[in-house]
C-alpha cells in the first residue's frame, strides 16, 4: 500500500478508537494488524518487543480503572488495556513496513508536501547517528574538564543546540551549492506510485472498520 495512504488510514483509525471504547473492535484490529505484519515477515524478536513495550503502561491503566476507579468497570479496563496494543500494532504496520525516507518521498509526490520539508527533514535525519555521537562527546568533554553534564543540565542542551545551529547552516549551504532551490519544480528520481488498488484498499479497510467500531 502507498505509504501516505497507509499513514492516513492508521491515523484515522487510531483517532477513532481513542474516542470510541469498543473491546471487540480493539481485538479485531489487533488481529488484523498482526496478520498484516505476519504477511510482511514479522520476526519473533519484533513480535515480542511489540508485546512487551506497552505492557507496563497497559497494566497501570488497567489497575487504575479496575481496582481504584469508583465503578470498577472490568470491560472498560480491558478496553483501555487493549487500546494501547492497537496503537502499537497499528504503528508497527507503518514503521516495520515503510522507511522514513520512503514515507517522506511519498508525502512529497502524492500529497504535494513542499519539497523543502521532505529534503530538509531527510538531510537532517541522515545526521541522526552523528548527533547521538555528538551528545555523548559533549558529555565526555565536560567530564574531562571536571564538570558533569547530566540529562538534567541545561548546558547539555545549550551545547547540543549550538551544534544543531552550526550543522543546519552547513547542510543548507551544501544543498544550495548542489543546486537545490526551495520553490523550484523538481524532477523525480524515485517515483512512488499511487494506484487505483491503493485507493480501493484504503477505502475498503476504512469502510470495513466503521461497522466493527460503531455497531459491534
Amino acid at each position: 500500500m502507498n505509504p501516505s495512504l497507509k499513514l492516513i488510514l492508521i491515523l484515522i483509525i487510531s483517532l477513532e478508537i481513542s474516542f470510541k471504547p469498543n473491546l471487540w473492535a480493539n481485538l479485531i484490529l489487533i488481529g488484523g494488524a498482526l496478520i498484516y505484519l505476519i504477511f510482511h515477515h514479522l520476526s519473533w524478536r519484533e513480535f515480542l518487543l511489540i508485546l512487551f513495550f506497552p505492557l507496563l503502561g497497559a497494566i497501570a491503566i488497567f489497575s487504575a480503572l479496575y481496582f481504584f476507579a469508583p465503578d470498577h468497570n472490568l470491560i472498560y479496563a480491558w478496553t483501555l488495556f487493549t487500546r494501547l496494543y492497537v496503537f502499537v500494532f497499528l504503528g508497527a504496520c507503518l514503521t516495520l513496513t515503510t522507511t522514513a525516507g520512503k514515507l517522506a518521498r511519498s508525502l512529497e509526490q502524492n500529497l504535494h508536501l513542499p519539497s523543502k520539508f521532505t529534503y530538509g527533514c531527510l538531510a537532517a535525519l541522515n545526521l541522526l547517528p552523528k548527533m547521538k555521537a555528538e551528545v555523548i562527546r559533549i558529555h565526555y568533554a565536560a567530564q574531562m574538564r571536571g564538570t558533569s553534564l547530566s540529562f538534567w543540565s541545561p548546558r547539555l542542551y545549550f551545547k547540543a543546540t549550538l551544534v544543531a545551529l552550526a550543522w543546519a547552516e552547513n547542510i543548507n549551504q551544501g544543498m544550495l551549492a548542489h543546486g537545490y532551490r526551495e520553490n523550484a519544480s523538481r524532477s523525480i528520481i524515485k517515483p512512488i506510485l499511487l494506484t487505483k488498488k491503493d485507493w480501493l484498499l484504503f477505502l475498503g479497510v476504512l469502510i470495513l472498520v466503521q461497522p466493527i467500531l460503531f455497531i459491534l
Binding site: F19, I61, A64, Y76, L90, G91, G120
Partner: protein
C-alpha cells in the same frame, strides 16, 4: 506572513533529533515511575508527571525560530523521530505529538508571535497541558476517575509542564541568549 525556510526546517529536525533521544531516555523514568505508582492505583500518573519532558522541543524551536508553525513542527517532528527510532508507543506517539504540537503552537499564537519571554513559555505550557489533557481524558480513560483524581491528574500535568517546558526551557534559552545565537528583535 513569515514562512519557514529550508535552513530552519533542518534546524527544527535536528532539535527534534536531540529531544527524540531525551524522550527515549525518559521512557525509562516513565517505566520506573509506573512500577512504583501502580500498586497504589496511580499508575497513569507517571504519564502526567513526565509530560513536561516530552513537550520541550516545541517551545525551544518556537523561541529559536520565532515564526508561526515552528513550535508545532518542533514538537511533531520529534515525535515522528521517536516513533521511527523506537516504537514503544507506536502510532500513539504520532497522535500525542500532534496534540502536543497544537498545544505548544497555541501558546505562541495567543501572543500573536510578538512577545517572546517567560510568560509566552508559561502560556504555551498551559495550553499544551489543556489540549493534551483533553485528549488523554478520553484516550486513557480519565473520564472514569473520581472527581478528585480528575483534578489531581490535571494539576500534576500542569506542574510538570510548567517545570520542564517553561522553566527548564527558559534556562536553556537564557544560555542561548547570552551566547547571542537567538535574534532578539
Amino acid at each position: 506572513m513569515k514562512t519557514i525556510h529550508l535552513q530552519e526546517i533542518i534546524l527544527i529536525t535536528l532539535i527534534g533529533i536531540i529531544f527524540g533521544f531525551i524522550y527515549i531516555a525518559s521512557d525509562t523514568i516513565y517505566n520506573i515511575l509506573t512500577l512504583v505508582l501502580t500498586p497504589i492505583g496511580y499508575g497513569p500518573l507517571a504519564n502526567d508527571l513526565t509530560m513536561g519532558i516530552w513537550c520541550m522541543a516545541g517551545p525551544l524551536a518556537g523561541f529559536l525560530i520565532k515564526k508561526p508553525g515552528a513550535a508545532f513542527l518542533g514538537e511533531f517532528l520529534s515525535s515522528c523521530i521517536e516513533t521511527f527510532i523506537m516504537a514503544e508507543w507506536g502510532i500513539a506517539n504520532l497522535i500525542s505529538g500532534f496534540m502536543q504540537g497544537i498545544g505548544n503552537e497555541l501558546g505562541f499564537a495567543l501572543t500573536g508571535y510578538r512577545y517572546y519571554n517567560t510568560f509566552t513559555l508559561f502560556l504555551s505550557a498551559t495550553t499544551t497541558a489543556i489540549v493534551t489533557y483533553l485528549y488523554d481524558f478520553f484516550k486513557n480513560g480519565y473520564n472514569y476517575f473520581s472527581t478528585f483524581n480528575i483534578w489531581f491528574y490535571f494539576l500534576t500535568r500542569w506542574s510538570s509542564m510548567v517545570l520542564f517546558s517553561c522553566l527548564f526551557v527558559k534556562l536553556i534559552i537564557n544560555l542561548l541568549e547570552k551566547a547571542h545565537v537567538i535574534n532578539q528583535d
